[in-house]
């Protein structure tokens, strides 16, 4: 996965397709004065996440009447130097089971991702163009921009609060605003005006985010919880985003990690278009 893309700036999903486990090798506790806001975000961006990873997720979509829908999916990710390939396969519900998404994420920021979609109803693999990145991802409150990450150079960073205790952990609160020269591109890519992020001082992990959307007077609230170390890598096992409009909850999504395996052997064959349409794991 490229380090040039900011992890959990707007989410902690970063494999190119819901690799939510924004992760960190345990860091030495930091002192606020030692870092600028930009350096903290850079440290957050460069957190290690393993050379390969296999995730099993459940995504729960919650509407304003508290009606809940869920999707189960598996994501396989493998790094190739600074590039990364990921395969996402849906296990449920029944009407989308077998749907698969293959993505090649290139480190070169000028090179578009290569993406293919397999639809089981047609039993056909189809190359797809990148969607409007501010679109909802699979009906969730995450956007494609949240998941794919953004360019850190597009933003200015400043402290909102140099010490705030969240769930018993000391955090920096940093404001992230597009630089004037990148404002248009950043707003077009995300649909967001600005954000506040909460970064843990002990491991540079982002555990909260508050994002102001450009339209509709909407604010999104990201919360990471159920955090634990797996194979020496800090892993967020529950990520929640609540979309509010005029301070009322409009919709929410919860992404749970049911299982994760780091640094296992993943065959290159898994990241091919023909593998998407085969039933062999």
């Amino acid at each position: 996965m490229t380090d040039a893309k900011m992890k959990f700036l707007y989410s902690i999903c970063q494999t190119g397709f819901i690799a939510l486990t924004a992760v960190a090798i345990m860091q030495t506790p930091a002192v606020a004065a030692e870092y600028s806001a930009a350096e903290i975000m850079s440290r957050n961006d460069s957190l290690a996440d393993g050379d390969t990873a296999v995730y099993e997720y459940t995504m729960v979509l919650i509407d304003r009447r508290d009606r809940q829908r869920s999707r189960n999916l598996r994501v396989y990710r493998k790094d190739y130097g600074a590039d990364s390939k990921s395969l996402s396969q849906f296990d449920s519900p029944a009407d989308i089971r077998g749907t698969a998404y293959l993505n090649f994420d290139w480190d070169d920021v000028e090179r578009d991702d290569d993406s293919w979609l397999y639809l089981p109803s047609l039993q056909r693999v189809k190359r797809i163009a990148s969607s409007d990145t501010s679109d909802s991802f699979l009906g969730s409150d995450f956007t494609y921009a949240d998941i794919n990450g953004l360019e850190p150079d597009w933003y200015d960073y400043s402290f909102v609060n140099e010490s705030e205790i969240v769930d018993g952990v000391d955090c920096w609160v940093i404001e992230v605003i597009p630089k004037p020269e990148f404002r248009q591109r950043a707003e077009q890519a995300t649909g967001y005006a600005k954000s506040h992020v909460w970064i843990r001082k002990d491991n540079f992990l982002q555990i909260r985010g508050q994002i102001w959307e450009l339209r509709g007077n909407r604010i999104k609230y990201f919360t990471a919880s159920d955090i634990e170390q797996i194979d020496g890598i800090w892993t967020i096992k529950r990520l929640q985003v609540v979309t509010t409009r005029n301070d009322r909850q409009e919709h929410a999504s919860v992404l749970q990690v049911n299982n994760v395996i780091y640094n296992s052997e993943l065959d290159d064959r898994m990241f091919t278009t023909e593998y998407m349409q085969r039933g062999l794991d």
């Binding site: 029944a94 009906g139 509010t244 919709h251 049911n258 062999l280």
Partner: protein
């Protein structure tokens, strides 16, 4: 989600009284106005949504109920001659996947239908038993075994779909599977292609994937039976012809594809020798009783084709082209189907070019321009040397993917007709969805669609999905 407003409990006693007073009168306002920070608290999930097991088998399926109303009169010859319900259909689809080993898998799927008002009651020669059989259809869909034999070699054997090519409206290289043409333009996605018995071998070498497919007794497109409002042979039947369908001379079909991808694009090269998936007239015979017998068969053809696509930002551009050798030439109008007892075979050059745009919020726009050129075109009774058709599509999803809207407009090759389809689907829950569809047919009297111009329909649908 019920959330206790955190800021209330942090107020002084005096403020608490005031706030509680407000709380009684404007509960919801108070909750929402002061609860901002509480949006970080964990939401309650209603049930355990996680995967419960990693079984080596999976069963899924759905039960679908469709009610369709044809609001025009199809006319003489059809079993439904007036406006009325033309479908009250219950169908069950089930699919079982079993993977006993890492490199071995099986799939079996089947679909059963029961149509309460199948329109074969009037003016048709069917017996009660035959009508019952037509009303209750049972189809085996997938039935195959697959295996990764070696590092690069893959095999799939059995009833299966092998969908190649990139075009949506014109079958240039996507010719392995037959189609469900029982209700033209009204099929579900999973019914566009029908499975055929085949052996697929795939071999990857570096960036290239080589695939060969051998089919046996693949059959023809699934046509509507006599009297059905999409009976494509109804004109022949109404003219008094008897129809005799002949099996192809060679039941084996061969296909080969080499494909690769490069940055932002894919390339496919395809070749094949196969039987045309449509029946075409091969000769007429006058019988002893003076009646006429029309022989239909599947023309043997060869095909060479290529397809490529390219992504530029939110645009996907694609093209597919190929030559079909000895492809039957469709006569220039409906009467010629009867008059021209032996359709000509000509080499034909088929091309599809198109673009898809994803740049608007939650919307996909697609446009495809297709062309067919008859090489060595000699007979003026046949269709034009150069023909073109157009397909457009718009997809939109909203309300967190609960609502999906699809619009399709397809201008046909003969230039004298088009099909418009508009559908809405709303997901009520993970198991339940409801939908509505409108299909409109328009054709002048020389169009191949002419007989079906009054089959416009409105359909309501309910689907319940299950999975274990």
């Amino acid at each position: 989600m019920t959330r206790f407003p955190a800021q209330i409990v942090n107020q002084s006693p005096h403020h608490r009284i005031l706030l509680l007073a407000c709380f009684v009168g404007i509960v919801s306002f108070a909750f929402e106005a002061v609860a901002q920070n509480d949006f970080f608290s964990n939401l309650d999930l209603q049930r355990d949504n996680t995967l419960t097991s990693n079984r080596d088998w999976q069963l899924l399926g759905w039960v679908t109920e469709k009610v369709a109303y044809g609001y025009e009169s199809p006319g003489q010859g059809f079993s439904r001659q007036d406006a009325g319900f033309n479908k009250v259909e219950t169908s069950l689809f089930a699919q079982l996947d079993w993977q006993p080993a890492d490199n071995l898998g099986f799939r079996v799927s089947a679909k059963s239908y029961h149509d309460l008002v199948y329109r074969l009651d009037h003016d048709t020669p069917w017996s009660q038993a035959e009508r019952r059989k037509l009303r209750n259809r049972h189809e085996v869909r997938d039935l195959y075994i697959e295996s990764q034999l070696t590092e690069g070699l893959y095999l799939r054997f059995g009833n299966q779909i092998v969908a190649w090519g990139m075009a949506e409206y014109l079958r240039v290289t996507d010719v392995i599977n037959v189609e469900d043409q029982l209700t033209l333009g009204q099929q579900d996605l999973e019914d566009f292609r029908l499975q055929v018995p085949a052996l697929l071998l795939g071999f990857r070498s570096g960036q290239w994937l080589f695939e060969s497919v051998l089919t046996h007794r693949a059959g023809t497109d699934d046509l509507a039976p006599s009297g059905h409002e999409f009976d494509q042979l109804i004109e022949l039947r109404s003219s008094g012809l008897h129809i005799n369908r002949h099996p192809p001379g060679d039941h084996l079909e061969y296909f080969f594809r080499a494909s690769t991808h490069y940055s932002r694009g894919d390339v496919q090269l395809v070749a094949g020798e196969f039987n045309h998936n449509q029946l075409t007239p091969a000769g007429i015979q006058t019988l002893a009783d003076k009646s006429t017998l029309l022989h239909l068969n599947q023309q043997r053809m060869q095909m060479l084709g290529a397809a490529a696509n390219f992504v530029a930002g939110s645009w996907l551009l694609f093209g597919e082209t190929g030559i079909h050798f000895d492809r039957p030439v469709v006569p220039d109008n409906r009467n010629a189907i009867v008059n021209s007892a032996n359709w000509q075979e000509r080499n034909q050059w088929l091309t599809a070019t198109g673009a898809e745009f994803n740049g608007f919020s939650n919307t996909t726009l697609a446009l495809e321009l297709d062309s067919l050129r008859i090489l060595d075109h000699r007979d003026t009774r046949t269709a034009s040397r150069q023909q073109a058709s157009l397909g457009t599509r718009i997809n939109w999803s909203g309300w967190n993917d609960r609502l999906k809207i699809l619009g399709v407009w397809n201008y046909l090759f003969d230039g004298r007709g088009y099909v418009t389809r508009f559908s809405l689907d709303y997901t009520v829950s993970d198991q339940l969805s409801i939908g509505a569809m409108w299909v409109d047919y328009s054709a002048d009297d020389n169009s191949i669609l002419y007989n079906f111009r009054n089959n416009d329909v409105i359909q309501l649908q309910l689907r319940y999905s299950f999975q274990h």
